[in-house]
């Protein structure tokens, strides 16, 4: 396949998950990059290409299918792999910088993951350009052709739109799931290539100053909170660490993730990966159930974009109620068992329904 040639490009720095396959955010951003490239093409009259750069871990690189980004909008995928490469953030940034200096893309996007949030600022500083963190909106300004980067700021209560007027590339990390994965267009042409890297970079990959000792994956149920459709979250209102046992009864009924407010994480009632809020993770599930969480600004900023918010709190003045769709004012130890009971009986019912359907067919 011939390599597409574009003078102007939008790039995506992609990544694979621990299982080696590309994370959904790569497809999401390939689609978004495609839209931005098309918008730039219509405003400048020049076609813009989309290139995805993957710096993969050599141990699992064969499980990734780089061409998979094609149907979502990528014209070209660059693949570099070496053992533990993605964990050497500086090395990945240097590869990106080397390629960007030669390729001169207009825009570089990356998911706002641990990887993207480390590699992108490193690369932006080396390129001497601006970077906007954690964007939830991206568009092209018609008259200038500049990238408008919108992100929640000051606790998530303000949306700030940011431009990089005079520096190139314009760089942004994007909160996963901000746009959703677009419908793929099967059969789009995409070339998968290994870029030429200079010797010094290759050497750097082999004997860097960073050495990975090990990577211990979390158990399934500890998986990433951001990917959950439903999150059941507990706060100080649980009053004791054992409260999380009751909470996890509800979460397992719902197949939900478990979240927590900062104070209970600080009291070590539950581990940090569960912390929702500015200093923890920012989530946007379909349903967020806040139990005994008062709603400090720093927590609200981490969950207020959920589709539906349900809260239970004893304090009728609790701030959490102001961002809730359904608010129950009462003791969660009275409310929760009843909710669990209701859901169990509902499940039993629909289970009977299901098996009745099955026995009929």
């Amino acid at each position: 396949m011939s390599q597409p040639k574009f003078v102007d490009e939008v790039w995506v720095l992609g990544e694979a998950g621990a299982d080696g396959t590309l994370i959904p955010a790569v497809f999401e951003l390939s689609g978004r990059a495609r839209e931005l490239a098309d918008a730039l093409a219509s405003s400048t009259g020049r076609p813009h290409g989309v290139t995805v750069l993957l710096t993969l871990d050599g141990r699992t690189a064969d499980r990734a299918d780089p061409g998979e980004a094609g149907p979502y909008g990528a014209d070209r995928v660059w693949v570099v792999s070496a053992e533990f490469l993605p964990f050497d953030r500086a090395a990945c940034a240097k590869i990106l910088v080397h390629l960007a200096k030669a390729g001169r893309p207009q825009i570089i996007l990356a998911p706002a993951t641990a990887f993207g949030r480390s590699v992108m600022p490193y690369a932006a500083a080396l390129l001497g350009t601006g970077l906007t963190a954690d964007c939830t909106g991206l568009s092209i300004e018609r008259e200038s052709g500049l990238l408008l980067q919108t992100r929640p700021a000051t606790g998530g209560n303000i949306m700030a739109t940011i431009k990089t007027p005079d520096h190139r590339p314009q760089m942004a990390t994007v909160r996963p799931k901000a746009f959703g994965v677009p419908k793929p267009t099967p059969g789009r042409n995409v070339s998968v290539v290994t870029p030429d890297l200079p010797e010094y970079l290759k050497e750097n990959l082999q004997k860097g100053t960073v050495r990975t000792v090990k990577f211990s994956r979390f158990a399934e149920d500890e998986g990433t909170l951001q990917d959950r459709e439903v999150i059941v979250s507990g706060g100080k209102g649980l009053r004791r660490p054992e409260g999380f046992e009751l909470l996890s009864k509800l979460s397992s009924l719902l197949g939900a993730g478990i979240g927590a407010s900062r104070p209970v994480v600080e009291m070590k009632w539950i581990g940090y990966p569960h912390q929702v809020g500015l200093s923890g993770c920012i989530v946007s599930p379909r349903v967020y159930i806040a139990l005994g969480i008062s709603g400090a600004v720093q927590h609200l900023a981490g969950m207020q974009t959920a589709e539906k918010i349900v809260s239970v709190n004893r304090d009728p003045e609790a701030q959490i109620f102001s961002v809730s769709d359904v608010a129950i004012c009462g003791d969660l130890y009275e409310v929760l068992p009843k909710l669990i009971e209701k859901i169990e009986s509902r499940k039993l019912e629909s289970g009977k329904l299901e098996s009745a359907k099955r026995s009929r067919t």
Binding site: G17, A18, R89, A90, A93, A114, R117, S118, P121, Y122, A123, A124, A125, G128, T129, G130, L131, A133, D134, G155, N157, I158, M159, A160, T161, I162, T164, G208, T209, V210, R211, V213, K214, F215, F218, G223, E229, L254, E266, Y272, Q275, L278, S279, R286, V287, V297, Q298, L300, V310, S322, S324, D325, V326, A327, I328, C329, G330, V335, K338, R346
Partner: protein
């Protein structure tokens, strides 16, 4: 080992209330505090320091930041250096990093620690940008940090999305920490006395030999061009649990909402 801890003064968000109509923080009356994760970074430094090591706090901010930075002295840091200058106003993360790097080059550091992100800007970019400008490795989301014997190296655990990454890094390097790494102590009376027996050192663009054109808003590649205040208040249906029928209705509403996706 020379350890530098990057610190930022932020508004005390625990005191901040939200304006439900405008969806903005009501900052009046909320004081400035040291960004909580930066205190974790300082505590990480105190835990690995040995005799002969130095722990220096570096910050960029307004002159008032001096007061909150004293907390660092009371918790055992040897020095506090604050870069403050009108020329620094409006700095984005890149321009901020340049100032911090100028300070680091002046004082010298083997290990540079900071909070993973601040509670106000929450970009998490300054740590990696400082590392890039110094050309040294970066570790982010660190939840364990230890020295590797007498080698000029550290071993860290980083809590990532799917697991814990353990790495050994040669010094010099930058590491940004999460709150899981430790529990910062409260300052003692003796510590507070020490904090007031010593003045934070102040540096300016001039004393750092930075040209005013290379710092502040002018040198920042990014520009905020618009601020929107989306109304976040939702019209909650409220149910009082002490009334049985209200509780029943409330629970039914929850089950209804859940039946769309989880039931």
């Amino acid at each position: 080992m020379r350890i530098a801890v990057l610190m930022k003064q932020v508004p005390d968000t625990d005191e901040v209330k939200m304006d439900p109509e405008r969806g903005t923080m009501i900052r009046d009356g909320a004081g400035g505090i040291v960004d909580p994760l930066d205190l974790n970074a300082l505590e990480a430094a105190m835990q690995i320091r040995k005799d002969g090591d130095t722990v220096t706090i570096l910050s960029m901010g307004p002159p008032q930041a001096e007061e909150s930075l004293r907390e660092g002295l009371s918790l055992g840091a040897d020095r506090v250096v604050l870069a403050t200058d009108r020329a620094f106003a409006g700095s984005d993360t890149w321009a901020t990093s340049k100032v911090l790097v100028a300070m680091l080059e002046k004082i010298g550091a083997d290990l540079i620690l900071a909070g993973e992100k601040s509670t106000d800007g929450e970009t998490g970019q300054v740590g990696p940008e400082v590392a890039a400008l110094l050309g040294i490795p970066i570790e982010t989301r660190v939840t364990r940090l230890e020295r590797v014997g007498d080698e000029p190296a550290i071993e860290v655990d980083c809590t990532l999305e799917e697991g814990i990454l353990t790495q050994r890094v040669q010094l010099p390097c930058v590491a940004t920490v999460l709150s899981d790494i430790n529990v910062p102590p409260l300052s003692t009376l003796a510590g507070k006395k020490r904090a007031y027996s010593q003045e934070p050192e102040v540096v300016t663009a001039e004393s750092l030999s930075l040209d005013p054109g290379e710092v502040g808003l002018e040198a920042s590649p990014t520009r905020v061009v618009r601020i929107d205040r989306p109304k976040i208040t939702r019209a909650a249906e409220k149910f009082l649990a002490k009334h049985d029928e209200e509780l029943e209705a409330g629970l039914n509403r929850i089950v209804e909402i859940l039946s769309d996706c989880a039931l």
